[in-house]
């Protein structure tokens, strides 16, 4: 078997995507197969490429705000947060304390929403149709809460330099608290239906084994990294916004397989709920928008702002030249690096395991393509 594989005989090319149910969008993977074994998967990117970095360079910085939501459509608020964060850092503006809390609350809701969708989609990739409908029921509650404050359901454009567009009210706080207890009551159900299921466990245990060295070589971040035992989370490692004020854990697992990534994400749901609870308790009064000059120019110089997106480390690197248009903006997206290890990770794997691996990487293709 191996000798035949080494010779490269009996191999054939299987084209997976850009329209394939488990590539989650317009990712294309060219698989060199041997029977059902994937010998060499090569991702092909760029089907959803929009050159966001060029767009940022070609117009005044406030005009990039809507773009920030359109890279990773599942964590638009976290991308919002990163972008206003980098502009604030470069221009030396501080958002009001209440605004920072609102940003954290909405970001965590957004993270929960992304994790819930991922949970459903991973199980869908493995062939179970029902859990995604249950996670969507939960996710819908978050979307309703966020819609009420941001006005949109998916591509939010909510945060502004200095604060947020609309202050949250008591109704929002109350609904979020209701949601927290609802989500807590749902988790045992997922434990029984998904985590405990023998077929599910056998499908993702010992599949796609990541290790810390691989993580270093490829720049792996996010829950997949924490599954290898490295407790690296930007919210803790380089705290931004008001995250230092909250007490939460960084869940880690040591096995580094898809199951570990799964468990980390499921436990992160609980941690996000904890952050939400504390943020709602501590929410300070005051304005939700700081006084910001109407025509803000970006000073010369550069600044980075790293945030923890549901998929890993998101970095905005903004270079200003004294005008209102950025001279250069680099966006480092987590899935880009996370996907780049696919060829090494999935060599010699079964086709079904490749689907499980891609599901547990939690890919969002427009984010990779930018």
């Amino acid at each position: 078997m191996t000798t035949m594989a080494e010779k490269g005989e009996h191999r054939y090319i299987l084209n997976m995507g850009p329209q394939h149910p488990s590539t989650h969008g317009v990712l294309r993977v060219i698989l060199e197969m041997e029977g059902e074994y994937v010998m060499d998967p090569q991702p092909v990117l760029g089907y959803g490429h929009r050159m966001h970095e060029k767009m940022a360079e070609s117009r005044p910085w406030p005009n990039f705000l809507p773009n920030a939501a359109r890279m990773d459509y599942l964590s638009a608020l976290i991308y919002n947060h990163g972008y206003v964060g980098v502009v604030e850092r470069l221009a030396g503006i501080e958002a009001t304390p209440r605004a920072e809390y609102i940003r954290v609350i909405t970001s965590e809701l957004n993270r929960l929403q992304s994790h819930l969708l991922w949970l459903g989609v991973l199980v869908l990739d493995l062939g179970a149709f029902t859990p995604i409908m249950y996670t969507f029921e939960d996710r819908e509650k978050i979307l309703d809460i966020l819609e009420d404050v941001t006005g949109s359901r998916l591509t939010y454009c909510y945060m502004r330099v200095g604060g947020v567009v609309r202050d949250i009210d008591d109704k929002f706080v109350e609904r979020t608290r209701e949601y927290i207890s609802w989500q807590r009551s749902r988790m045992p159900m997922y434990d029984k239906l998904v985590t405990g299921n023998i077929i599910f466990r056998k499908r993702i245990e010992k599949i796609g084994e990541f290790n810390p060295d691989m993580a270093r070589r490829y720049g792996l971040t996010g829950p997949v990294l924490r599954g290898t035992g490295i407790p690296y989370d930007i919210r803790r490692a380089e705290p931004y916004s008001v995250y230092p004020e909250f007490d939460f854990e960084i869940p880690t697992e040591t096995t580094g397989d898809c199951m570990a990534a799964y468990l980390v994400r499921v436990r992160e749901i609980e941690q996000s709920l904890r952050i939400l609870e504390q943020a709602l308790d501590k929410l300070p009064a005051g304005p939700a928008m700081a006084k910001v000059p109407k025509k803000l120019k970006l000073p010369a110089g550069d600044a980075c702002y790293a945030v923890e997106s549901p998929r890993g480390e998101l970095v905005y690197h903004l270079t200003g030249d004294g005008s209102d248009t950025p001279y250069r903006m680099k966006i480092r997206v987590p899935s880009f690096s996370n996907l780049s290890l696919l060829p090494e990770l999935c060599r010699g794997m079964l086709l079904s395991d490749l689907c499980a691996c891609m599901g547990s990487l939690d890919l969002v293709i427009p984010e990779i393509d930018r």
């Binding site: 117009r59 406030p62 005009n63 990039f64 705000l65 809507p66 773009n67 359109r70 029902t130 249950y134 029921e137 309703d144 819609e147 009420d148 404050v149 941001t150 006005g151 949109s152 591509t155 454009c157 567009v165 609309r166 159900m189 029984k192 239906l193 405990g196 299921n197 023998i198 077929i199």
Partner: protein, 147 residues
Amino acid sequence: MKDYFALIFTGGKSLIVGMMITLRELFRPVVTVQYPREKLPLSPNYRGHTILIRDEEKPEKHRCISCKMCERECPSNCIDLAGEKREGVKGMVLIKYRLDFTKCSLCGTCVEVCPPNALDFSKVYQHVGFSREDFHYDLLAMVEEDK
């Protein structure tokens, strides 16, 4: 050998537990609605396409002063408006306000920058058309029609 039977037992149990959960959900009420027949209440803060709102004091008029702030600030360049000077009227009179909704990303910049707060979001979420031009909304006509 012990593991062999233990796996059968735990595995079988987990399958039955899973089936009990879906069985329980089977008898619970549905959570979705039949969309065109039933509609969920829309959030009052929902962002549909922008509209010109009418003055509270003078309900027959919109508040737009044709200052073109929204046109300048729009990230997607989807607003096209024009005003003209008319005799006997103070300020500019709006003669055209076209919104290219195919480009609009509903960021809300125009609503925020508008000095007289003449713009607001509508609650329209059903947009149907056969060509791109069907989504070029004439906000001025809309506000006049609405009287």
